[in-house]
């Protein structure tokens, strides 16, 4: 029986030309003509992002000289994409370009399905020439450059935009609570105002998110991190992490903060003037502006970096959505890169940034009021937030790009929930978390 199958399969295989495996990647002389690039993205249908991306793709499909066709598919938010990538890796039928968190991309790279973009970026024939590279903001792009084993300097993904986890303050509420009309300068001040708001009849305290990103932003505000690159270890037991956990617990206990269930409820509550503060991605500004206008909330609000602990100063967490080029034939990989390169070009970046309110990965473009077409967000707000990014005094944090971080990210909220509810002491729970993270780090990052 199996011999019979074998014969049939061999016949089938022999009838078709065998394809040679390419071991050492060198894209010189590779011909990208006529390739189709499948792109899985997270931009919801009917959003300005999706519309702009469609327009850019149409433009690329028409204008590129190699007849490359990009086929974009909206796959829902990041987590469905991550689930689908599991299937794709298992089956071997991968898209060519896919969006994901940096850590998810690192996990895919660990499976060997991700192309090292440095090879393409620095290719004499196809790459971006050195003098042109100076115009790119590598502080942002290097989030995807993984310098530790087993990656050793591999650039696992590229970005075509970035956003920040920013801090929102309603100045009118702050003033009405009897504080100076400005955003809080330190964590202590933030806590004080939030407590005052919680105690007042009119307002609620701070809408506390139990998500991992939000937690990390506050760890960074304490001057710490959850992962230490030098010792190559998760440091959930460090003082800064413990202090963050204590801050959360204290604020909830004293009614200075509250938990919420619906996604984006924190910014929703902020936009109807219920709470003086909120923390969320700068990509949410258009929605807050829109909701505030719908609810006829006329208070003045500002967008800033996170207030820091004493002598830490303001901090900000970078959100760099990564676009990974996945392994395929050299021709297809190259064609994908040409599309990525097109998105990194001056015109495309200007159009993208202007239409979506995301920040560019280029240093040499300036989105003027005329370029700015995002309908729900005033241009002034865009300038305000760009200011944070340009501010030298603000320290910048980004999440570790480790494969194990996907799994760790999944358990951190459980621990936060456990601690803030008083089911476990911060130190004990964090010690346990650290042990679990270390185990995942051992097992998944090799």
């Amino acid at each position: 029986m199996y011999r019979f199958l074998l014969v049939i399969l061999f016949l089938l295989a022999a009838a078709l030309p065998a394809v040679l495996a390419q071991s050492d990647m060198n894209y010189d002389g590779v011909d990208p003509s006529g390739q189709t690039v499948v792109y899985w993205h997270q931009y919801s249908d009917d959003s300005s992002q999706a519309e702009t991306m469609t327009a850019l793709i149409d433009d690329f499909n028409e204008s590129n000289e190699y007849g490359i066709t990009v086929e974009a598919i909206h796959q829902g938010s990041y987590s469905p994409i991550q689930d689908l990538m599991n299937t794709a890796i298992l089956s071997g039928e991968l898209p060519n370009l896919v969006a994901g968190y940096a850590n998810a991309v690192a996990g895919w790279a660990n499976e060997g399905v991700v192309v090292d973009i440095n090879l393409l970026l620095n290719s004499p024939q196809w790459g971006i020439p050195p003098d042109e590279q100076q115009n790119l903001n590598f502080d942002l792009l290097d989030v995807n450059q993984l310098d530790y084993p087993p990656f050793y300097g591999m650039r696992v993904a590229w970005a075509n935009q970035n956003s920040l986890n920013v801090f929102y303050t309603n100045l009118d509420i702050v003033e009405s609570l009897g504080f100076e009309r400005r955003s809080p300068q330190t964590l202590a001040e933030f806590e004080e105002i939030a407590c005052a708001a919680g105690a007042s009849e009119l307002y609620e305290g701070y809408p506390l998110d139990t998500g991992t990103s939000h937690f990390e932003s506050f760890v960074a505000a304490h001057g710490g991190a959850i992962y230490d690159g030098d010792s190559d270890a998760y440091i959930f037991e460090s003082d800064e992490v413990v202090a963050t956990m204590e801050l959360f617990t204290r604020m909830l206990e004293n009614n200075c903060a509250y938990l919420f269930a619906e996604r984006y409820q924190n910014t929703g509550d902020f936009s109807i003037g219920v709470t003086p503060f909120a923390a969320s991605s700068s990509a949410g500004i258009p929605f807050i502006t829109w909701d505030a206008a719908t609810a006829e909330m006329t208070d003045e609000w500002v967008v800033t970096a996170f207030p820091g602990a004493e002598d830490i100063g303001a901090t900000i967490q970078l959100f760099v959505p990564s676009q990974a080029i996945l392994t395929a034939t050299p021709e297809a990989e190259l064609a994908t890169w040409l599309f990525v390169k097109y998105l990194a070009g001056k015109d495309a970046q200007l159009a993208w940034s202007g239409a979506t309110g995301y920040f560019s990965i280029r240093n040499d473009i300036e989105v003027t009021e005329a370029d700015f077409t995002e309908p729900r967000m005033p241009y002034a707000r865009f300038v305000e937030v760009s200011g944070i990014l340009g501010d030298e005094s603000v320290s910048v944090y980004s999440s570790p790009g480790l494969p194990s971080y996907s799994a760790v990210r999944g358990i951190v909220p459980n621990v936060i929930a456990e601690v803030v509810n008083g089911d476990a002491a911060p130190a004990d729970a964090l010690a346990e978390l650290n042990a679990e993270a270390a185990e995942l780090h051992d097992e998944l990052d090799s």
Binding site: W40, Q75, P80, L84, T87, L90, S91, G268, A295
Partner: protein, 325 residues
Amino acid sequence: MASAGEGSSAAAMQQPPLQGPRQRVSLGALGIYALLFAGVLIAVGPFLWMISASFMTISEVNLTRLLPENLLWENYATALRRANFLDIEIATDPQTGVLQSLSVSGYIWNSVRITLITVLGSLTVCIPAAYAFARMKFVGRDFIFALFLSTMMIPGIVMLIPHLLTVIWLGRLSESLFGPAGTWFNNWPALTIPFFASVFNIFLLRQFFIQIPNDLWEAARIDGAGHPRFLVSVVLPLSKAPIMTIVTLGFIGSWNALMWPLLVTINDEWRPIAVGLSNFVTADTPGDLNLQMAASVITVVPILILYFVAQKQFTEGIAQTGIRG
């Protein structure tokens, strides 16, 4: 599970009257109606609010109003367009008005196709199997039946990865035989074929087939009919109600399926409505609750219509299979 009584009499075939003991209920009647209406309120309250909220403005939803001030019908138009539920393109000849082409796409259309294939496939597979278990003698019958039943207890989570692999590789085999249209993954086979052999359906039908009087079979055999002909010309006409039960349950199951289709569809060509709704609701940008409600209502309407049409036979079918352990 214990086997059901095999020697049921012909009386069991007659539809029992759906009417209870005749009691004097004059005093209790009011109480009964009160309880029943309370039940109605609890059962459909959330559903009615869903409809109500689908006509509201976003701030009315946020304030959890009971009723909208104005009926915003445009919520439905927006939800339909945004959620990519249904897209019908009709091209007619401008002069003669003759239909030239009709293309239907969107999640609703996909779900309709998937559901039809699943239900038909399930009937084709389950009816003969149930018949064999109920009315034929063969080596290992009880063992195989017990084996089938035990698969009902396997948690879905055990099968997730093996199912994926099976679908991927069977798809490749069939693709090499039938060409690109024969692929399973991201195509209708992955979404339907695994659900054809429903043990629950086989069990339900077997319970019904067992009750068919043996005299009928003896008579058919004297007329020279074998099992296939007996099944088609005698058993099936008797089994309309149980089959309707299976069709309804199959329709509900496949219309509402979420986790599996989420994993095996990578574009909108075959993605069913529950996945579409889920993607619409959990998008990466803040969504509008009123539109989500409108989309939800759209999702429910087809299945509600089906149940409305089928419910009498559905209930009869359950009664006739006399579900027993």
